[in-house]
């Protein structure tokens, strides 16, 4: 092998560092357990101080969760909310990414749409709850539209940022090799922008979880947001706690799965999560 044939041991290094992380994984799990234990302890002490009317204790919450699990309403809520989030979010990504690609590449489209993006992204979805119900009815559509609304702009804006930061020499190389604008978009701009799209999708997932509760304020019988709102009417603080904790855990799991899938499938697009 000549000196110029030497390969960079970068990938191998990355793999062995993953192995090291695996070894350190146990310690990490340990630390998470300690952190969790301390959180539950603080929660327990607060419940002790303020009483069940204000703070449901860990034991009461666990009991309530068990009740809700047994009668199936917790699973039903998780499925209903999860479904709305997934559909609305996926639509947001599917519409936001191409929109961002075109806006990033075609100046006139960017200039025409920019005022609207900049206007709507500051209006929280909760402001649209009433309109969504009036326009899209009491069914699933109104909730999905609200999740879509909260997802689409952030994906679009991240995608535009990605398109605008594509390395100039890549674009020039493509054009000097005879790629036309459409080919450049498909074969160079889109692959270069994938990491930005993934970041946008992750942020959109977070937004979807922030929005699901308001989306289920009105006219939802099932769903984690509905569970939280209805529990208020029944004065069931413990159910509210169950709803909130489930929402947090579900969000954490969705993000983990997204990172895992994107990290595996899109590794060659330099997606770092």
């Amino acid at each position: 092998m000549s000196i110029v044939d030497r390969e960079v041991p970068q990938f191998t290094a990355a793999m062995s560092s993953r192995r090291r992380r695996g070894g350190a994984g146990l310690a990490l799990v340990g630390r998470y357990a300690v952190s969790l234990g301390m959180g539950v302890l603080v929660w327990y002490l607060l419940a002790l101080k303020y009483g069940p009317a204000l703070v449901s204790s860990p034991a009461q919450t666990a009991e309530a969760a068990w009740d809700l699990l047994r009668d199936g309403s917790l699973i039903e809520s998780v499925v209903a909310s999860g479904r709305r989030i997934l559909i609305g979010w996926a639509l947001g990504v599917v519409v936001g990414a191409p929109l961002g690609l075109v806006m990033g590449r075609v100046r006139i489209v960017r200039q025409l749409l920019d005022p609207y993006i900049e206007f709507f992204r500051f209006i929280p979805p909760i402001a649209f709850v009433t309109l969504a119900v009036i326009w899209f009815g009491l069914g699933e559509a109104s909730k999905i539209v609200l999740i879509f609304y909260t997802s689409v702009f952030i994906v679009t804006i991240n995608t535009i940022a990605g398109v605008l930061s594509v390395n100039e020499s890549k674009l020039r190389a493509a054009s000097s090799m005879g790629a036309n604008r459409r080919q450049t978009l498909t074969w160079v701009v889109l692959p270069s922008t994938v990491p930005h799209i993934v970041t946008g999708a992750r942020l959109a997932m977070g937004n979807s979880f922030l929005t699901i509760v308001s989306a289920e304020i009105v006219a939802a019988n099932v769903g984690l947001g509905a569970l939280i709102w209805q529990s208020r009417n029944y004065g069931r603080i413990d159910w509210v706690f169950v709803g909130i904790i489930t929402l947090g855990v579900l969000g954490f799991l969705f993000d983990r799965v997204l990172r895992l899938v994107a990290g595996k499938l899109l590794a060659r697009y330099a997606v770092k999560l």
């Binding site: 092998m1 000549s2 000196i3 110029v4 044939d5 030497r6 390969e7 960079v8 970068q10 990938f11 390395n167 020499s169 890549k170 020039r172 190389a173 493509a174 054009s175 000097s176 090799m177 005879g178 790629a179 036309n180 080919q183 074969w187 160079v188 692959p191 994938v194 060659r268 697009y269 330099a270």
Partner: protein, 280 residues
Amino acid sequence: MSVVTQAPGAGAVHAPGPVHGAGMALMDVSISFGDFRAVAGIDLDVRPGEFLCLLGPSGCGKSTLLSAMAGFVPTSSGTLTAEGTPLVGSNRDAGVVFQSSEALFDWLTVRQNVSFGPRMRGASRAEQQRIADEYLSLVGLGHARDKYPPQLSGGMRQRVQIARVLANHPRIVLMDEPFGALDAQTREVLQRELDRIWRTSGCTVVFVTHDIDEAIVLGDRIVVMTAGPAAGIKTVRDVDLPRPRSRTDPAVIALYEELREEIGAEVREALRGQGLEADL
């Protein structure tokens, strides 16, 4: 064992059919960005099939001039023709090798990078692979075809860039300090490689460098540029020495000293522009 380690010119070189190098003509060309005048009053003939080096201190506008030849930046005044026709938009005869291997597509394999041009032109999959393999073996990278660019060393990545450009049969290859980011040893090996490839291909090469040695080893002619802004051409030197050239050849050393003298004044000027006084 890769082709790179062979003695220059040794053995049968697997050469693609020779192309006819394209010529270019620049008449009183100036390039400005807003108020900034990068180059001004450039008169230059690029002869078909020659290896032309643009030599000058950093920031003197060599790369800008090359970008104009590629059609990436418009000229502000003067005329720039390729094969007698004024250049409009991207130069279809030209292939460009960039200094940074950022120009490679990291998400494609080495082979897919090299077959990018043929693929864009609608070549069949088999044809794409045949072309890619042909040019990868030309630059001695047949064994790395299924790897991705981030897995390769800097020198290998630049060879991929060269193969990728040649796969489009360009009549003129524009190279912007392609070996500028490499270590000295790799750089020398790649200069020998490029010399070999160029001699078998027949294309024209315009090669930007700030390295005097490199310009002498590779160039048929060396265009020495003045320090910017509003850089122009100081002198044009013919290098009439047999190839492959060696740095230790007395004639190369003598020319080096002459050029060093010539370019020294420009480097001092350039450094003064950056607030540095230098004694060269």
